[in-house]
Amino acid sequence: MATKAIGKPRFKPDRKKLQETGLSLLITLISLVAALIVGAIVIWAFGSNPFEAYGALWRGAFGTGIAFTVTLGKAVPVMLTGLAVAIAFRCSVFNIGAEGQLLMGAMAAALVGAYVNLPMVLHLPLTILASMAAGMFWAFFPAVLKLRGNVSVVISTIMFNYIAQYLVQYLILGPFKGPGESPATATIAETAQLPDILPKPYVLNLGFVLALLAVVGTYILLNRTSMGYEMRAVGFNASAAHTNGIDVGRNMFLALLISGALAGLGGGIEVTGSLNKIVNNFSANYGFNGIPVALMAHNNPFAIIFSALLIGAMRSGSSMMQSSAGISQNMIDVLQGLIIVFLCSEHVIRYYIKHRIGGKKHA
């Protein structure tokens, strides 16, 4: 039953599907533009010049070649948390715990990277795998609570975010505090650091490639395996899936575990790629940023590359916006919130596009 979707000839031009993709893209663009407009009003209301602010944001993100590579780098963790949120969403699970899972992944990578001695061919993969395992481990508890006790994933993953935050803080300041004054772990061994893929002064490491591989992997898992087929069936209509003999609980459980592993990988790449250690409070909402990333992409893995780049650009441009236009970096949170609000109103936009514009065509 489940394997039916595999091996079927694809790529026959499907008009309806194309139309649907176009509509999704249009909705994302409408939401983005609307968010920027309302954001401009907010900036103006707080007494700054919106054009100046957006200009600085743009220059900060894309102004120079180096800035562009920074943007690419900043897109990596949100690409992974975006994938994490998306894969869970596709199975009707809302994983708000990406933040905590990313933290735990980063912590595991920092520990394995600093305290294990191995040649690079083994050390680096081991560090990366450790981060995925830690992220998965952190998603395991909410997943079990959901499966066994029907505890809301939303609430439990939020609680585990806070628990992770304090746990990591304890580990950084306590037993695994590195040398020196700063609240950080020891720097990881060179054998555990991701190599750069661009010559200096550009800053981009292998993590970007890993993130792209994760995108492809997630796509294959979702669209080319029976496991992904079952997950999507649950997400599309859980009761219909159940009637067809798909174990709804088991699929949600697995989706949350995979989601955790992806978020953990995001933390692992951040540590092995750019930070090389964990500084206290390093994450700054990478996990929560995964939500707009996934939503803008309508949970499509390949589209996530672009939405992650957009959020990455906001993150890398925000400091320039703060320093030259005088509007707080937090403005990018406002913009992301607005984007989500508009995307959330997708149904109404869809309705009017179909009934007004589509209706005229019929007449």
Binding site: V151, V154, I155, I158, F160, Y162
Partner: protein, 309 residues
């Protein structure tokens, strides 16, 4: 010993009250069929708004008014997106959290030229007139007026659901909106009421944080209390007294955390700070199964824009 008890009781009230306000509001909204996991956002923006109002008018009560207005504004956005337009409630509420934290950060910099926290603003005085009451007068007089206002809100909420037609109707639209509409009820209007009510109470909860127990707004000062309130709603099984009790239960754990820190137990602070969150998870796990059935039509949009299943 007596000192410890008095400290814990006082701290429980102080820590539990903001959670209880927000949780009672959240319960009302959820009973009417609209979940709002973004109570945290309402509290954050309201805490900020309270500080701004109090600063502008140099009067803490104006801060309370500001907080309520902001709570209404934010929940109005949530209502519009989720009730009228049929958006996914969990997603919309996460947007509220981002929006609120963002706006308070941007506002701090724009209005006060600072980051991290606002300047000191007038805060609500404690209820000193109660000092005259024998024996417990001293204890009562040290409490914030928010504590007494909470009792009022508690009674109003209880009365609403127990004794009024409006309360019954709210429950009906949460359980079966189709039947409610067939019976001639305006589903949307009732749900709007539920969500806005939650905004008002969430606003009070947020205001207490910045101008009740403190005299300034700090970024991150809500620290997950909105989420604890959400947990309290589930744990209290959508029953006024249950929700109130659960909120105070979380308040107690926060108080315990403060107490343990103050007597310097040889446990790392981080583990003590974890207590309320761990307690929530454990309690939800223990009360699992039976109580999590929830509101029948909770979380499901009821509009022409979304196909009904």
């Amino acid at each position: 010993m007596l000192n410890a008890i008095s400290y814990l009781l006082s701290a429980t009230l102080r820590m539990g009250t903001p959670i209880a306000y927000t949780a009672l509001g959240g319960m009302t909204s959820e009973r009417s069929g609209v979940n709002n996991i973004g109570l945290e956002g309402i509290m954050t923006a309201a805490a900020f708004g309270a500080a701004v109002g109090s600063y502008l008018f140099q009067n803490a009560w104006m801060g309370v008014v500001f907080a309520i207005l902001i709570g209404i504004a934010i929940s109005a956005v949530h209502s519009l997106v989720c009730i009228t337009w049929g958006g996914t409630q969990a997603v919309s509420s996460m947007a509220l959290v981002l929006l609120s934290t963002g706006i308070s950060g941007v506002g701090l910099k724009a209005l006060f030229g600072r980051q991290g926290n606002s300047p000191e603003v007038p805060s609500l005085p404690t209820t000193t007139p109660l000092e005259g009451i024998p024996v417990i007068g001293e204890f009562l007089s040290q409490q914030s007026p928010f504590v007494y206002l909470l009792l009022l809100c508690l009674l109003i909420t209880w009365f609403l659901f127990r004794h009024t037609r409006l309360g019954l109707r709210l429950i009906t639209v949460g359980e079966n909106p189709k039947a409610a509409e067939t019976a001639g009820l305006n589903v949307h209007r009732l749900r709007y009421f539920g969500v806005i009510y939650s905004g008002i109470l969430g606003g009070l909860g947020g205001a207490m944080l910045s101008i009740g127990s403190m005299n300034m707004f700090q970024e991150g000062m809500v620290a997950g209390r909105g989420y604890l309130a959400l947990g309290a709603v589930t744990m209290g099984r959508w029953n006024t007294w249950g929700v109130f009790g659960s909120a105070m239960f979380f308040g107690f754990f926060s108080a315990l955390q403060l107490y343990l820190q103050s007597i310097q137990v040889p446990v790392p602070t981080e583990f003590i700070q974890m207590i309320p969150y761990v307690a929530t998870v454990i309690v939800l796990a223990l009360s699992a199964g039976k109580s999590n059935a929830g509101i029948a039509a909770g979380g499901k949009p009821y509009t022409k824009f979304v196909q009904q299943r």
